[in-house]
Amino acid sequence: MDMIKANNLIFEYKRHNERGEVESVHRALDNVDLLVEPGEFITILGHNGSGKSTLAKHINALLRPKEGTLFIKGMDANQEENIWPIRQSAGMVFQNPDNQIIATIVEEDVAFGPENLGVPTDEIRERVDQALETVEMTDYSLHSPYKLSGGQKQRIAIAGVLAMRPDCIVLDEPTAMLDPSGRKEVLETVRKLNKEGITIIMITHFMEEAVMADRIHVMVEGRVVMTGTPKEIFSQVDLMKQYGLDVPEVTELAYELKKSGVAISTDILTIEEMVTALCQLR
């Protein structure tokens, strides 16, 4: 069964005036089709306001489709009774770690989700311990979350989602506020979760991060305009720039060298690939 299946998804934000009449309508999602297989790692790229976060909030049933169909693990997002099961199977991690932490002790924060699901106490203990171990924060279980670094806080937020035993995690720019080491910690955690079989949908503005994914979706004005492997997407340097996006620095370097007449492939995405390609030229 598909993890996520969206067909012709449409969502509109409406602006109301003082009298409650609709003043203007902004179509944030415009006939979006999306298919995500279980265990896939997807990144969504797009400029600010392209509809990425609106799409992410649909996967978690924070927003409901206006038109079109959306199925999460076979559950119809248009059915009221599916909202809670959908939220349990598709967890969400947001950009700002400080806004997601509610308890004064790390393990209590992680326990919040399963407690609300009505999980028995013994099992909560087990889930919390396991989640903290996965994100490598066991040593901090009795600490105050407020004194942790940004990367650590974000890992606690991920542990909180993991404790709900989701099939899929949606991360909306999880590294935007982090320093380089915090970013690395979070990305390593995400990669590990994906290896353990959890479907990952990550929104990011860092092209180097998007390279990790199995597939990339590019959104422009509420529509998915490109879908493909990182190599397929990033080799189209001109098109990406036209969409207000970017490519990893080494990809841009390959593109620049090619323009200057060097016989080099333009689907280079990582430093290692660039080193190999240049060594072959030598």
Partner: protein, 289 residues
């Protein structure tokens, strides 16, 4: 306008159980018209340091001079200092509060006691610099996209016509185009008006591309201070501090480890291309047309 930080130490919650020394005997001089980047991991003391520059925090020890004047002398009005040194916080869009974009930007200059004509001139000037069209001046700032909101917030600081502009992570959460636009606007302000700029960033690539001098903070002190090329030579030390170097600098390092001779310091795509092309040309891999 020059800034001189002299032997500044800052301790949060001195005498309490939560006492934390955030700055430890820091000295730093920034000359008039410099464009300085500041990097450091979360908690390294960057934000504490920049808050001393416009008097939001008072040093526990040491003195701060703006334009040669000690800002914590009793006769100096901090209000004047804060007009000269404009501070754009992280996520400045969270500080928008007025009913319209125009009013929000006008708030600072109005509070400075300027007449309405001058306020109007400044609001239009500031919004033009950040690329906000006159058509939307009367819209609520909350209806804008994230990138536009941030520009309005920056315009609010620019409208005070500061001589020094301090930006704390102005591009966090922006898409690549928004990032490039804001940094290009800052560069333009620096070049055309000679404003001194201090840019705090977690993006090593942006630092390499835009600033002339990089100050690296770690554990409440300054660890490196030099051009981007000089600073990004210290790959291991920077990584040990939770930082990184631009991707092209890692590439140059990896190529050298493979025995290739790469001349000069590489920190941007252009530098990497210019260093690699002559070498590849010599090898005859470049087709001549």
């Amino acid at each position: 306008m020059s800034i001189k930080i002299e032997n500044v130490s800052y301790i949060y919650g001195e005498g309490s159980p939560f006492e934390k020394r955030a700055l430890n005997d820091v000295s730093l001089t920034i000359e008039d018209g410099e464009f300085v980047g500041m990097i450091g991991h979360t908690g390294s003391g960057k934000s504490t340091l920049i808050q001393q520059i416009n008097g939001l925090l008072t040093p526990t020890l040491g003195q701060v001079y703006v334009d040669g004047e000690g800002i914590f002398n009793t006769e100096v009005k901090l209000k004047d200092i804060r007009q000269k040194v404009g501070l754009v916080f992280q996520y400045p869009e969270h500080q928008l509060f007025e009913m319209t974009i125009y009013k929000d930007v006008a708030f600072g200059p109005t509070n400075m006691g300027l007449d309405q004509e001058e306020v109007d001139r400044r609001v239009r000037w500031a919004l033009e610099i950040v690329g906000i069209d006159e058509e939307i001046f009367e819209q609520a700032p909350f209806d804008l996209s994230g990138g536009q909101k941030r520009r309005v917030a920056i315009a609010g600081v620019l409208a005070m016509k500061p001589k020094v502009l301090v930006l704390d992570e102005p591009t966090a959460g922006l898409d690549p185009q928004g990032r490039d636009e804001i940094l290009a606007e800052v560069t333009k302000l620096h070049e055309q008006l000679g404003i001194t700029v201090i840019l705090v960033s977690h993006s090593m690539e942006d630092i390499a591309r835009y600033v002339h001098r990089v100050v690296v903070m770690d554990m409440g002190g300054i660890r490196f201070d030099g051009t981007a090329k000089e600073v990004f030579r210290h790959v291991e030390e920077l990584e040990a501090m939770g930082l990184a170097v631009p991707q092209t600098a890692y590439l140059a390092k990896a190529l050298r480890e493979q025995g290739m001779v790469i001349e000069g310091d590489i920190t941007t795509v252009e530098e990497a291309r210019d260093a690699l092309l002559p070498m590849l040309k010599r090898l005859g891999d470049v087709q001549h047309d």
